[in-house]
Symmetry: C2
Subunit: 110 residues, 2 copies
DNA sequence: GTTATATGTTGCAAACATACGACATAATTT
DNA sequence: AAATTATGTCGTATGTTTGCAACATATAAC
């Protein structure tokens, strides 16, 4: 059914990135990681109004895409933003919006 | 099941916006609209490797969110980017990435 | 070595998204 | 008014995401 293969490689990449941001929990997680001056592991679960299991899954998706890293440290896991990947993601969105903003006035609404 | 209600209003709005960009067809549609100097209606379907029905649905989602407008003109419909909404969306993403980029170096990877 | 703590994994159900054929509508052309 | 063209809507099939409880693992504390 899903026919994403037929699309432009860049569009597909950006779509994947956008999907990561398409859930408020994942946005909240990213913001939380940016706000703490130390990388906190399970405390994320306390900040997010979802079960630990579900938060863990969201963390995994973010990690899978490379936006965050998770360093095991004894029993704990320290999650961090991957600044480079964040930068790349940011640039991708910028690239799209640059194109979208440069659309000329059209004949249909003069 | 879906518990998005418990989240920050801004995060929820941004998530909705991100969801729109989470499918390559919708990104392609937006880019196509930005690239044509006249707003074309069903020609979008020819540009997108999906059935007319499916493209119509994607157009509807984009219209529902206000990112594009669709002016009926006889038998045809002229779709256009809504520059103001695009600008707003762009600013929302910028706002998030601004926060994410300003994360200080953490103790966990010194 | 047992207990407590922190975390990850599995399996399942509900909700949501995607894709399309078939039908409906409505303006234009013939 | 019949045929054509452009578009939208409905129903339905299937795929994907979200959410959680229950179980598994593994370090640390006692």
């Amino acid at each position: 059914m899903r026919k994403t293969t037929n699309f432009d490689e860049n569009d597909r990449e950006l779509a994947k990135l956008a999907r990561l941001l398409s859930h408020p929990a994942r946005i909240a997680i990213l913001r939380f990681l940016a706000s703490t001056d130390c990388c906190i592991s399970g405390d994320i679960s306390n900040e997010i109004p979802l079960s630990r299991t579900t938060v863990s899954q969201h963390l995994n998706e973010l990690k899978g895409a490379g936006l965050i890293t998770g360093e095991i440290e004894g029993v704990r896991v320290n999650y961090c933003l991957d600044s480079q990947q964040i930068e790349k993601a940011s640039a991708s969105f910028d690239g799209l919006f640059e194109i979208l903003k440069n659309n000329k006035p059209k004949q249909c609404n003069p």
